[in-house]
């Protein structure tokens, strides 16, 4: 080692000494700062610890549930397409059954119309018969005049028999009229049955709306569990978009209320007036609101 090397070393040692002195000077501050920071962190940790503990406890409780969801939900999700397929079958079955009912109703209506026509023809024929008997009775009465004796007695009996026959035929006529009226009543009832079958269209829309919800749920579950499970998640759910109104409801009273609201808007005759009605009455109209407007 040369003298030059020693001098260099001494200089370096001086620099180190200088740094140590600076460090010594600032050490208390550094230690103080570190202590303050550490204390602050500890205080925060102290405050956070119960929450952290709760979080851990919560996680302990939730993890099995999530684990169970991961195991079970994809399996359940797989059954959504099957469930919607079953719903589609319900719609198809009700449509088929409704068609069968309508076929039967149409058949009965046709038979009743035929029966009515035949009874009406009989009724007309009976009416003519009554008229004919009446005419003949009048002729016999004219022949009888004030006649007396055995022949006149026979003619009187013939007149009485004719009167009795007219009365009986008249009774039959009234019965036939009642039967025809009864058949018309049955026809009206059958027509009401036919009209009530609108439920099929409306429930089909409700089912389609339910299918749409299940389809969305299916896609959400698939997205949620993608990557969590090796299981093949459920297939696509076919929904006939645009074919249903999610608020469709088979409620005659409600339909009547809505019908009045629609009529009111059309009666107003212009969109501006309709908007005005909307402002006045609000989004959903109650019967009281409608009554108030009509008053």
């Amino acid at each position: 080692m040369t003298e030059q090397d020693i001098q260099k070393l001494v200089q370096e040692l001086d620099q180190v000494r200088s740094h140590v002195l600076i460090f010594e000077t600032h050490l208390p501050d550094i230690i103080k700062g570190a202590r303050t920071h550490a204390k602050a962190h500890l205080l925060v940790f102290k405050d956070s610890f119960p929450r952290l503990r709760h979080t851990v406890e919560f996680a302990e409780q939730v993890v099995p549930t999530i684990d169970r969801m991961i195991r079970i939900w994809p399996e359940k999700a797989g059954s959504i397409p099957q469930a919607t397929s079953n719903l589609r079958k319900v719609t198809e079955a009700t449509e088929m059954a409704t068609t069968e009912i309508m076929d039967v109703v149409d058949g009965i209506t046709e038979q009743i119309e035929d029966l009515k026509a035949r009874l009406q023809a009989q009724r007309n024929s009976l009416g003519e018969g009554i008229k004919s008997v009446d005419e003949k009775r009048q002729k016999v009465e004219a022949c009888l005049g004030d006649g007396k004796g055995p022949k006149a007695q026979v003619l009187k009996e013939v007149v009485q028999w004719q009167q009795s026959l007219e009365s009986t035929l008249g009774e039959w006529g009234r019965t036939l009229d009642e039967v025809v009226q009864g058949l018309e009543g049955i026809n009206d009832s059958l027509f009401q049955i036919l009209n009530a079958l609108q439920f099929q269209d409306i429930t089909a829309q409700q089912i389609e709306a339910t299918k749409a919800i299940l389809a969305e749920l299916n896609e959400e579950i698939k997205a949620l569990f993608k990557g969590f499970t090796q299981m093949e998640l459920g297939g696509r759910v076919e929904v006939r978009r645009g074919t249903f109104d999610k608020q469709a409801n088979y409620d005659r009273k409600e339909a009547k209320r809505k019908q009045r609201m629609a009529d009111q808007i059309f009666e107003e005759g212009s969109e501006r007036d309709a908007e005005k009605v909307r402002e006045e009455v609000g989004e959903m109209v109650s019967q009281d609101d409608i009554d108030a407007i009509f008053e």
């Binding site: 978009r241 645009g242 109104d245 339909a255 809505k258 609201m261 059309f266 309709a274």
Partner: protein, 126 residues
């Protein structure tokens, strides 16, 4: 009035049949059925003198509202009266149908009386 030819448009087989039966009972013997807007538009081209259209709103391929707009924008059929027959019954729906150009609006489930009244009213005003 009863001699008018009516085009009944609904994707439900049941509803088409109910409409046809109700119309025939009300004395409207000429009824043509269509299952959606596209089918209805085609029927309108091939059937002579359709005097009234009854259309559902929610249908596949072409909705009733789209069909109404198409008819209204057509110079040949633009004046054919249209009645919307639908389960949709909130005010905005009615307003939208009116803006599209329907002449009247029937809410399902309807009664035969309401159907007859609306048809007579619409036909008497054209």
């Amino acid at each position: 009035m009863a001699s008018v030819k009516i085009l009944a448009v609904d994707d439900s087989v049941t509803m088409r049949r109910i409409l046809t039966n109700t119309l025939k009972r009300a004395g409207f013997d000429q009824v043509v059925e269509a299952e959606d807007g596209i089918d209805a538009w085609a029927k309108l081209q091939t059937e002579d003198n359709v005097g009234l259209i009854l259309t559902d709103w929610n249908m596949p391929n072409m909705s009733g509202l789209e069909f109404v707009k198409k008819v209204r924008s057509d110079p040949k059929f633009g004046n054919v009266p249209i009645i919307m027959v639908t389960a949709r019954g909130v005010k905005d729906d009615v307003l939208e149908a009116m803006r599209a150009g329907v002449n009247s609006y029937i809410v399902k489930p309807f009664t035969p009386q309401v159907l007859k009244e609306k048809i007579e009213k619409v036909l008497s005003s054209v």
